[in-house]
């Protein structure tokens, strides 16, 4: 059967382009030339549905790498994981085999982290992440280092604020079906129970693309809840808040950190955020301390965007590693050992490993008062306050 589309494509074109393609592919698959002092690849979701978060953390990592202390030059190519476990494993594989990495700055996405862990163990290279997924430091893998609090810890802060500070006793607990949502939901359930306040309404079945939240809000109202706790990614969280306000629901809404990202608050009119709070490891956009202000302004100048806690956490983590490299860490093993015992004064907080690879133990609760999109810090939790027996 004749293919009309092929008319006019001379045979020589096809041969020629095939040859070019072949050469190009050969060139790309060979390793990159190494002339820098160290090689620290970035392996994060640049495409796919976690690409907002992946972009933020990438920016934070890049900002640190561009200012490596001690005059060191670092080679830091970026590899896209595509928000996929299989993609993440192969991307990390490619990154770690492309040179002699001392560490890799990697994804915030829990499912991808799980797929990356065996690869890190195989190559024996430390991974620097900001993923909150509890199990990545609870499985005995010594190569995982995270620079945002373990979800387990931060959810304690979240639950404590609602129960102890706001004195709420009838919680409506809601999450979406993403990996982030399901993980947080399970932890919050546990924490509320430990605090003696079992939620009166629970729903973890909201798909992240759900549009109409009125059935959910109807059920929340019917349950007689006095506070709404939401743990989900930004879009459904924003819809819940907006539609609750539009429906005249005046209950306090205490969210997970997704809403704190500037790209999320941009979706609101300031008045819609009145009475809304969230937990967050840090909120650099509040510019609460001079150190944070300096960093946040530099970030805004460099990337043209307001920074978020993800970028700051990743920045601090990579900067800690670069500082250790400047102090003499040469091999991945040197670095791993140093990360387990050293203390580091970062921009957001002080970082020290608890022996399992969790280096961040600080969190804040921020609230909006309806006058601005930038929230205010209303509570601070750290260390032992973020552990519930």
């Amino acid at each position: 059967m004749k293919n009309p589309a092929l008319r006019g494509f001379p045979t020589s074109w096809r041969h020629g382009s095939a040859a070019m393609l072949g050469l190009g592919l050969l060139a790309m698959s060979s390793g990159l030339a190494q002339s820098a002092d160290a090689y620290l690849p970035i392996v994060m979701p640049i495409t796919g549905f976690m690409s907002v978060e992946g972009g933020s953390q990438r920016n934070g990592a890049v900002m640190a790498l561009e200012h490596a202390p001690g005059g060191k030059t670092i080679d830091y190519p970026v590899f896209d994981t595509g928000t996929s476990a299989t993609g993440a494993a192969t991307a990390l594989d490619k990154a770690l085999s492309n040179g002699k990495p001392i560490a890799a700055a990697v994804t915030v996405f829990g499912t991808e982290m799980v797929a990356m862990m065996p690869v890190a163990a195989e190559y024996k290279v430390p991974l620097l992440t900001i993923s909150g997924l509890a199990k990545i430091t609870e499985s005995g893998n010594p190569y995982i280092f995270r620079f945002l609090p373990n979800d387990r810890e931060i959810k304690v802060a979240h639950a404590r604020y609602v129960v102890e500070k706001l004195k709420k006793t009838k919680i409506a607990l809601i999450s979406d079906t993403t990996a982030y949502g399901q993980g947080g939901f399970a932890l919050l359930q546990e924490d509320f129970t430990k605090l003696g306040v079992k939620p009166v309404y629970e729903d973890s079945s909201i798909a992240p693309d759900t549009k109409d939240m009125s059935p959910l809000l109807a059920k929340v109202k019917a349950s007689g809840a006095d506070a709404i706790v939401v743990h989900s990614v930004a879009a459904p969280m924003a819809l819940i808040v907006k539609q609750a306000k539009a429906a005249g629901i005046t209950l306090p809404i205490i969210n997970s950190s997704s809403i704190v990202e500037p790209t999320a608050t941009a979706l609101f009119e300031p008045a819609e955020l009145n009475g809304v709070c969230a937990e967050t490891p840090s909120a650099p956009e509040t510019r609460a301390t001079p150190k944070i202000k300096e960093w946040a302004d530099a970030y805004k100048t460099r990337f043209g965007l307001e920074p978020d806690g993800l970028a700051l956490g990743q920045y601090d983590g990579v900067m800690m590693v670069l500082t250790l490299i400047a102090k003499g860490a040469k091999t991945p093993e040197d670095l791993r050992a140093a990360l387990q015992k050293e203390t580091y004064e970062g921009v957001a907080m002080t970082y020290k490993s608890n022996g399992k690879g969790d280096l961040s133990h600080d969190a804040e609760i921020v609230c909006w008062d309806g006058t601005s999109r930038i929230p205010k810090v209303v509570a601070h939790y750290a260390g032992a306050d973020m552990v519930l027996k």
Partner: protein
């Protein structure tokens, strides 16, 4: 052996395979081995998909679901029950197969879009379960900690051994695919996807074939999914989502939907494209999409098809195989018992919407008769043939063949009992030779089942016999000299004769010819009429639908005339053509001349 290697694109493929193997053995880094392992897993997935999408021609969107279920079974059984590979692997194949069996009955009956969406719907339900049933499946976070493959005390923990193992299984998969598709059974698939109507009319049990294809696709999918779980050590809902289905579809279409080499080429190309483009960050998927779309547009039959066309362009066609040496007559199916009339129709009625296409049609045929079926356009002639051959179901009435009621029988059963037919519009496979087209007649009747095909060693005897029978049929139609040429290039008259030969090759007792003389010149018509008479002399009853009364005059012993679904006249040709009702039907009221059969004959 040398001629086998030199035909088609086998030689470059073998060389490429050897180069790839050498690379994998001596030059591959651990990363390369991982990528090649993934290629193997996807190749297995695509090989399975080829059965239902390529060979059976049905767009199933459940392939990723089978893959995911296989992975989840491995994950769940390994992590919750601690079972090893020898237990989890067979279970990972059995699970999807079981699901396929359960949904096959309602789903395979559906047409095209409905079938696709039903398979998509099943996939969405399974995805929902995987996300919500987090106690078992780990939810969206997935199930981590899936161990490496352990067989007979050996743990395949290093990448090299996993690579070899996976590709070993791919080879097994290729072998099974090859066995299923190379023989007469495989030909039945080809006919079915080219032309469902002709396939039914030749005795191919389409429902069986689609079922077998669906089951095979599920088995391969589950196996591939299980292997993926062991390689990545984690299984999550992404293993069965739409994105994976899109990848599978893309690999299949780009590689070549019915070619084993296509499955491997397609999976290798897509995996490598992705890896090469990954450094482009934001533009990574755009580049991948553009590249894949370009290949799709430029290579209509996939890469394998494009390579073959390139070969023909550079080196000319491969030499044609030889025809079989000795022809063999097709055996006629024996009748079940005694009967009066070979075909009896009683009050057959069928309406389409408000139009009565057939209205109380009744007639009898005797053994060895040649009966002409005439009537103006739209009188129901083809509809009647469709009812007799089982392509349409009549609403009222009864059709009996050799004493057995075939009114509600499916077309393929009626064909196997001994009824053959041709069509108004020629239904042949252009790319196959005339001989192979005729040999397709035996696919439904002699084609062995799935298991027999897989276990056949050496050349397929059934296929060879089919070819011998085809040669005999070709000789009876006088086309034995051009029998090895592709049908697409044959002149129209020859193609008509190929179709008739195909009908004869089934060994029928009754043949229904639908306008066999249409488009033939006078010489060809006379020749065809003579040949039809020889078939009748052998005891085959012939029903010939025709407008060409000259052609029928030399041939028919009796005529039956239809008008608007009713039989308005039946009997000896002379009487029928003088019948006023017949004249009115053809020429309108007021005509008084009998229907002419040739110029100058009163």
């Amino acid at each position: 052996m040398l001629s086998w290697l030199l035909s088609g694109i086998r030689l470059p493929l073998v060389l490429a395979a050897a180069a790839l193997i050498a690379y994998a053995l001596f030059f591959a880094s651990p990363y390369d081995m991982r990528i090649l392992t993934l290629c193997g897993i996807y190749a297995l997935l695509v090989l399975g998909f080829q059965f239902v999408f390529g060979h059976a021609g049905a767009v199933s969107l459940a392939q990723a679901t089978f893959f995911g279920i296989g992975g989840y079974i491995t994950g769940i059984v390994a992590t919750h029950f601690g079972a090893g590979f020898p237990v989890t692997f067979p279970l990972s194949i059995a699970g999807p197969v079981l699901l396929a069996v359960v949904v096959a009955v309602p789903v395979l009956k559906l047409e095209e879009h409905y079938f696709s969406l039903a398979t998509l719907g099943i996939g969405l339900v399974v995805l929902l379960l995987a996300i919500q049933w987090s106690d078992i499946t780990g939810g969206t976070n997935g199930l981590p900690g899936i161990p490496s493959i352990e067989l007979a005390g050996f743990v395949l923990s290093d990448r090299r051994s996993v690579l070899y193992f996976v590709w070993g299984l791919v080879l097994v998969g290729c072998l099974i695919s090859y066995q299923v598709t190379r023989g007469l059974y495989g030909r039945a698939f080809h006919l079915m996807r080219e032309d469902r109507v002709a396939a039914s009319a030749l005795g191919v049990n389409i429902a069986h074939l689609r079922f077998a294809a669906f089951i095979l696709s599920a088995a391969y999918g589950g196996a591939a999914g299980a292997l993926m779980a062991h390689v990545i050590h984690v299984v999550s809902p992404e293993n069965l989502d739409l994105a994976l289905m899109v990848t599978c579809l893309t690999m299949t279409v780009i590689g070549g939907r019915t070619r084993i080499a296509g499955a491997i080429l397609g999976s290798i190309l897509i995996v490598f494209l992705r890896e090469w483009f990954r450094v482009l960050e934001n533009y990574y998927m755009i580049a991948y999409g553009v590249a894949a779309l370009s290949v799709l547009i430029l290579a209509p039959y996939g890469l394998v098809g494009a390579l073959e066309r390139l070969r023909v362009l550079l080196f000319g066609h491969s030499p044609r195989p030889n025809p079989p040496q000795v022809p063999e007559q097709a055996p006629q199916a024996a009748p079940a018992g005694e009967y009066d009339h070979i075909l009896a129709a009683r009050d057959v009625t069928l309406a389409f919407g408000g139009v009565r296409a057939l209205d109380g049609v009744s007639f009898n045929l005797r053994d060895g008769e040649i009966v002409g079926l005439i009537g103006p356009n739209g009188s129901g002639k083809t509809t009647l043939l469709n009812v007799i051959s089982g392509l349409y179901v009549c609403e009222q009435g009864q059709v009996t063949f050799r004493g057995q009621d075939i009114t509600n029988s499916p077309a393929y059963l009626i064909s196997r009992r001994g009824v053959a037919r041709t069509f108004q519009h020629i239904h042949l496979v252009d790319e196959l030779s005339a001989l192979d087209n005729i040999a397709l007649a035996r696919a439904g009747i002699d084609g062995a089942g799935l298991l027999k095909s897989i276990s056949t060693i050496g050349s397929d005897r059934r296929l060879e016999r089919a070819r011998r029978i085809a040669l005999a049929a070709a000789e009876r139609l006088g086309i034995a000299d051009v029998v090895m040429e592709p049908c697409g290039g044959l002149p129209y008259g020859t193609r008509r004769r190929v179709e008739v030969a195909r009908a004869i090759a089934t060994g029928p007792a009754l043949v229904l010819l639908d306008e066999p003389a249409a488009g033939l010149n006078e010489q060809e018509q006379l020749d065809l009429a003579e040949r039809i008479k020889t078939f009748a002399a052998d005891g085959i009853t012939m029903v010939v639908v025709e407008h060409n009364l000259v052609f029928l005059a030399a041939l028919a012993e009796r005529l039956i005339c239809l008008d608007r679904g009713k039989v308005i006249a039946a009997g000896l040709p002379d009487a029928v053509r003088r019948d006023p009702a017949v004249i009115e039907a053809y020429l309108g009221l007021g005509a008084s001349e009998p229907l002419p059969i040739a110029a100058g004959v009163p």
